[in-house]
Amino acid sequence: MKKQVLDEYIIYDEQTQTYSMDPEQAVRDDVEKNHWKNTVKTILKDWRLYLMLVPLLFVFFCWRYLPMYELLGAFKYPVNNLPVAEQNYSGFAWFARILFADPSRSTMFWRAFRNTFLLSFYGLCFGFPMPIIVALFFNEIKSNIYRSGIQVLTYLPKFMSTVVMTTLTIMLLSSGVGREPGIVSQFLEWTGLVSEEAANKGLLNDPQYFRAIYQITGIWEGAGYDSIVYFAAIIAIPPTSYEAAQIDGAGKMAQMKHVVLPSILSTLVIMLINRIGSLLSVGYEKVYLLYNTSTWETADVVSTLAMRWGGIAGAGNSGGIIAQAMASAAEMLNNLTGMILVIGANTIARKVSDVSLY
């Protein structure tokens, strides 16, 4: 007898084609809601299972939720060496200062907020379609050996650590202070994409190139690897679908539209929700390793700004504990907006199609 659990409550029976309530879930809900005294008894009876959960909850509580408690510092007057609970409330003073009241801080905050958004937005525009294109191209290569060879090579950059990746970027673009421009800079100069002056100055020292460098290295790193999931969907299309379209006289574009697109649509929607949801979380490690004082204009994101204000950016330039409280406030604003985006994107996707992420 084949049964499929649709929701936690409803069981669909394929043989009789009927829906039925999961009686056990009703019991569980009943216990959770009405008989809370029985809860302890139920847990004790099954204590081994609950014990298995303890380490996981402990890890998440200590190192994911306790930091959220430290966020309270964004609403307090900071005092050195005093736990955040004992400090006095400042209300939204720090938020007001980074948003508008303190011009020097607020310009930095809004710049970082804009950069965070733009870096991921350009990622959505350029980085998001690339894996799909790569997967479509992979599908054209019928020789298995050649295709697997190419696939292995294109996944390779994903395996390099951020430090190695950024080091290669730094060295290939500008091989150091007072040296000749790196090999890639030379190539770009030769093609005329960048001027000689810019190449000599170092492309990573020029704010106008940072976003492009960030996106291109991102594509270089992820396009091959991210194409796997689309390729799996494309390769599952039966060849007869293409043949039928070809007999109807469909060219390549028409085949794309009517055969390929429908089959990758659900994957595409999931990936898109993911992207939109993470519009305000930029890989801070990569920015931190690639940016420098001369590119703050376009490179500084909220996380790296918070690192500097918080005095935890290596060569930190913290303005003390007040700046630390403002760093907390800045990131809290950013991450809350990000959370609203995730939930919003997911809700919309659930309304428009059947696909949703959470």
Partner: protein
């Protein structure tokens, strides 16, 4: 019946061969270039005359890296952190994922939300830093002295809700009849997990282990914040050299010690990069299929 390709199909085919070949070469090129530069002579490297193949070959840079004690200490630190970090995170995630996969678990939705929420919202850099600092103090107090901060990296950093959810989904896929049969046979909860569930979800566990291992191996920022020189992982040591010799973080010049022939500081850094990625290149063919599988499991359901 063989059909002639339409012109649009032909163009697309040619385009895909050309594009993918160029892309694949672009993925390979930096590594080849790094290796060539690592074994090329000082003047050639400094003048950026290496394009693809090494010129004026020397192995002094590699010899220097092989004899660099800090490099190998850092290497062993990274191996330590990767091994124990993966072991700890995987153990915790398997136990927790197993419990969460059970429908009979009370407050299951609440626990799931507890995990998933951390994917939506994180406290941010400064609160996380304060939290790790407090953790360091607690660990030191527990150890009754200055505990090696590698343990902080192993235990406190690197848990990811996504990985737990992948494991939970895999365990949910195991047919419940098998569990019922084991209960009838008198198996305890732990036996059911180790004898039934783990063998039946091997490939997911391998994938998740790989995700944990990669994140420990690659971790830079927090390791740099919380470790000092003898405890440095490889990534931190690598970056410290970049900062010192390439980005002008300090005024020290790279001085080749006695007993070594001439080589450029760039060759030294490229040689370190090659040494750092060789283990990955060696195991890459074996783990690649798990990596490919992991992406396809990415869809989350609640």
């Amino acid at each position: 019946m063989k059909r002639r390709l339409e012109i649009s199909e032909l163009i697309f085919k040619v385009l895909s061969y050309v594009f993918l070949t160029i892309f694949a070469l672009a993925c390979l090129y930096p590594l080849v270039y790094a290796f060539s530069s690592a074994i090329s002579g000082e003047t050639v490297v400094d003048a950026n005359e290496v394009i693809l193949l090494p010129k004026d070959i020397q192995f002094e840079a590699f010899r220097y890296v092989f004899n660099d004690n800090i490099f190998w200490t850092s290497y062993s630190n990274t191996l330590f952190v990767t091994f124990f970090g993966t072991l700890w995170a995987l153990g915790v995630a398997i136990l927790g994922g197993y419990a969460l996969s059970k429908k009979r678990l009370l407050f299951r939705r609440g626990f799931n939300f507890f995990l998933v929420f951390t994917m939506w919202f994180s406290a941010g850099m400064v609160p996380q830093w304060i939290n790790y600092k407090n953790t360091e103090n607690v660990f030191n107090a527990l150890a009754g002295g200055d505990l090696d901060n590698k343990w902080l990296i192993v235990i406190a950093m690197g848990m990811a809700a996504m990985n737990v959810i992948l494991l939970r989904n895999a365990f949910e896929g195991v047919p419940s009849e098998i569990e019922e049969a084991s209960i009838v046979d008198g198996a305890t909860e732990l036996q059911i997990l180790t004898k039934v569930y783990i063998p039946m979800s091997q490939s997911t566990i391998a994938t998740v282990a790989l995700f944990f291992a990669i994140s420990r191996w690659n971790g830079y920022y927090w390791a740099q914040q919380f470790t000092d020189q003898p405890e440095w992982p490889l990534q931190v040591y690598l970056r410290s050299n970049i900062n010192a010799y390439l980005l002008g973080g300090t005024d020290e010049k790279f001085i080749i010690p006695d007993g070594y022939g001439e080589f450029s500081v760039n060759s030294f850094i490229y040689a370190m990069i090659i040494c750092a990625i060789i283990p990955i290149l060696i195991i890459y063919p074996f783990i690649q299929k798990y990596f490919a599988k992991g992406v396809n499991m990415g869809g989350v359901k609640e």
